[in-house]
Symmetry: C2
Subunit: 547 residues, 2 copies
């Protein structure tokens, strides 16, 4: 599939898919001869999403493919000629036509790593005009991938490791590619399966799903069931009349449960029978099209008992409306009764799948309320990240021609941290990360068991001295001279990285509600640089006196 | 561009981009010989988004292209073979390989029309297996397009018609295609421009943008300005030293405003000068990289005055942080002072662009607070639809083989309205729509000035008799026998439809906060049908007695 992904990146992220101001700036740089000055940008976000204590970094894989394929076509350049101001020098378009990312180097936190607000996730260095042009596309590829991956990881933490999680948000995403990105990165974040077939095809994600209500309501009578027979799974070749067999079981089920047969829907039974005949090994119907207790559950039990009699193993049921917890308990109770009454041990452990507008909150509730749900399907709240639908990554200039740059802004929290940096993660004696340190890249790396002074980036906390038990460097060179310099991970490999990265987190940072805030700090040297630039900036107008 | 769109629909919406259960259901239909039974689905949403009184219908254009290109490749079919249960009959895959939408007919509300909850937006009829397979893709194409278009329309209503609106959300959307869809449909919903170049290229949307903070902070001294001269716009060919000229103006501006020159940023002035030399006709810098009043505004005025002196017309400024209203008032005040002092009338009406995390709420506030903002740029809240990030369109079966179908569900509001319908919009004497009526399609159309009895779909309101002054039919046949049967509208044409459709709305329905709810009702006949089905459903078990 690697080739299909590479092919599709140009279609998905055409080089014109960026903001117009990237081109007007590139032109102004080019016009003043500054376009090749070495420049460094950093990509980071300002707040951990969802009121949580951490985020996950995703989307780098696509960024690398994008860098490798970055080029303007003649058609692109012609369009740009039509929208840039008429004053634009025609030679600029020749310059654009020749551009590529062979001069760009990307250093990055490894994809799938737990990250925190204000830590630079990627450092993009290269010719000023080119690294500026990359801004919007890189942000677009990282922002949502990281957000939805983090959201999925929170759902996973809320669900606990026992329950299986199915992503099914394609129809509610921001168009086709939003849906595909969601399926990919929710799997990376800890989901087990997706309903999205194309995501299975491209990324090897396990796909799942059986039937919608429309399938059930499309049937109205048992006459629509065809064929009506099924051969037993045990190798006996006789055709068994599944309708008669199931009618018999339905009578016994009604008797066992003291259920009125008057409310049972014939069309629903017909739908279940047809599906069971088509897929006797994969019988998992949705049972709330009419009424779970008065019809769907009874019909399911009857068909499932027939299948068991013919040596098949039905899978379970799906609940898609109403109070899922309460219903799952009732359903399990009936499964147990059938299991005992008809001596079928496997009946009591049939799967119960719940899918009804599940949010992180309702997922967490599942662990507090009595319920018997084995698999949870999540759509809207997962893919749209209802609680915070944007991560807010930004891309800021930190150095030009070796000289650090800083933006002050009217909002203090929009100020940037200047200079080219190294980023280290400090671990405590138990291996939990407890502080990320931003240093200038020329500083020596902090050492394990050696005290280091640092200054938290956010808040008015004063200088502190910390002594890490271990130090890990958070940055890899992943792209340089037109080449991807690290092996690309498969979706499944990145998923494993995510899980092991989350596992290193201390519970106080991992907690979904009111986590302790993780400290991101700058070194003494970096802090001095900031102070110096601020001072220089308020004393800056000698130029007015000069000629 | 029509061809590029058509080409891209297969890339954007591959036929596998759907939920797995569409294939398991299609197989079960095929297996029981029901796949060609004529079936009818309806696509609708259950609640108007954003707590508002209406929505807009968008996305049909892409649905049509999708239907026309719908086909499975050999590679698709091979993948399906690998994920469908092994019991799947191999002949089913040959069936899939031959499928297309030549048997499908699509009736639809015209794209760009104001619509309301519970009104069927599209009716998809054709062979049961095929129309079922289309579900997820059609939902995915309509859901977000309609949502973001409706969101844009609300921003437009909140902003009033005077202010220009710029969409700039690409970096915060759900990946590349989410961003492109957002740019396209926010323009349709009433925005004037986008920052997204690819959206300009594909859909002819006006593009806008000048510079980011990184451009400003990349400069540190006037020595980086090159060339330093500019030729006047009036045809005089002398090269004018723009730096000296601007220094002179800066001194005069400081004097006029009583400003300290000590806080003016040399790098910022260098950035403005470089940009002005590159694009003297398009000078609109971002002025808050350091401090608006102490640096950015002064530098802007000096460069703008130089440009005016050389007969150019600078455009204005952008504010991107802090209290936009207050700053815009201060900026306009300074513009007026300069205009008077230096006798340049155009100076007082320079544009002020505001871009700082604008929401619908803060947009509405702009009309209450004193401010001087001419153009508003909106990103995150617009494209992610923070307030409600999903429209929740659903696709429900209403008829099979001429017989109506209905889902009851454990949640009453998830019940569906059965039967193949006609949809009429009732207008009052002033031409405002006041009720949408769903009838069975065999019923005669309601007539202007003739009373008709109807039953609101939602709530316990009783039957009412209404007399419309005009009646319009809300449905067009747009696709049949493999052909698109209506001319496809350009993005700009759909945008005009949206504006005129919104204009017909009565203010009580158009109001952004607490609008009156618009009535969607069913005819007497349709209501009787629902009652009949409900009754039949609770009396349904004779089949248990039969053989």
């Amino acid at each position: 599939m690697a080739k299909a992904l590479e092919r599709s990146i140009r279609e998905r992220v055409p080089t014109l898919l960026t903001d117009l101001y990237q081109f007007t700036m590139a032109y102004a740089y080019w016009r003043s001869g500054r376009h090749n000055e070495p420049a460094v940008f950093e990509l980071f976000f300002r707040d951990n999403p969802f009121g949580g204590g951490f985020s996950l970094f995703s989307g780098m894989h696509d960024c690398l493919l994008f860098l490798r394929s970055f080029r303007f076509t003649d058609e692109d350049v012609e369009y740009l000629r039509s929208v840039l101001p008429p004053a634009t020098d025609p030679a600029f378009f020749l310059f654009l036509r020749e551009l590529d990312c062979s001069g760009v180097t990307l250093h990055s936190v490894p994809e799938g790593t737990v990250v925190f607000a204000r830590v630079p996730l990627m450092e993009v260095s290269g010719p000023l005009a080119v690294v500026q042009l990359l801004e919007t596309s890189l942000l677009c590829l990282v922002n949502y991938a990281s957000l939805v991956c983090s959201n999925a990881a929170r759902f996973r933490l809320a669900a606990g490791s026992r329950r299986k999680l199915l992503e099914m948000g394609l129809r509610r995403a921001q168009g086709p590619d939003g849906g595909l990105t969601a399926s990919r990165y929710t799997y990376v974040g800890g989901f087990d399966m997706t309903s999205n077939v194309q995501a299975g095809f491209l990324f090897g994600i396990p796909v799942a799903g059986t039937m919608a209500h429309s399938y059930v309501t499309s049937f109205s009578s048992l006459e629509e069931v065809w064929p009506q027979t099924l051969v037993a799974a045990n190798g006996d070749h006789d055709n068994i009349d599944l309708i008669s067999l199931t009618k018999g079981w339905l009578g016994r089920v009604c008797e066992l449960l003291g259920a009125e047969s008057g409310k049972i829907h014939e069309g629903e039974l017909a739908a279940f029978l047809s599906y069971a005949i088509a897929y006797p090994h994969n019988f998992l119907p949705v049972i709330d099209s009419y009424s779970v207790t008065c019809s769907g559950l009874l019909n399911f039990c009857a068909v499932a008992l027939s299948l068991f009699e013919l040596d098949y193993s039905p899978l379970g049921v799906r609940l898609d409306s109403g109070d899922l917890c309460r219903q799952s308990v009732e359903v399990r109770h009936v499964f147990r009764l059938c299991s005992e009454q008809f001596s079928i041990p496997a009946f009591q452990s049939l799967l119960i799948v719940g899918t009804n507008n599940i949010s992180e909150y309702s997922m967490a509730e599942l662990n507090k309320k009595e319920n018997e749900i084995d698999v949870v399907g999540v759509g809207t709240h997962l893919v749209t990240c209802t609680r915070q639908p944007s991560l807010g990554c930004v891309y800021k200039l930190v150095e030009v021609r070796g000289s650090p740059r800083m933006k002050f802004s009217e909002d203090p929290e929009k100020s940037t941290v200047p200079g080219r940096k190294a980023v280290y993660r400090m671990l405590d004696t138990e291996g939990h990360p407890f502080l990320d340190l931003l240093c200038l890249c020329e500083e020596p790396a902090p050492k394990a068991c050696v005290a280091v002074r640092c200054h938290p980036v956010v808040g008015n906390k004063t200088c502190q001295s910390i002594t890490p038990s271990q130090v890990s460097c958070l940055r890899l060179e992943v792209y340089t001279k037109g080449q991807i310099t690290q092996p690309l991970c498969s979706t499944a490999e990145t998923r494993e990285k995510v899980q092991s990265s989350i596992q290193t987190l201390h519970p106080r940072h991992k907690r979904l509600q009111e986590p302790d805030s993780y400290i991101v700090a700058v070194s003494e040297k970096l802090r001095n640089l900031i102070a110096e630039i601020r001072k220089g900036s308020s004393n800056n107008s000698n130029f007015l006196l000069a000629n």
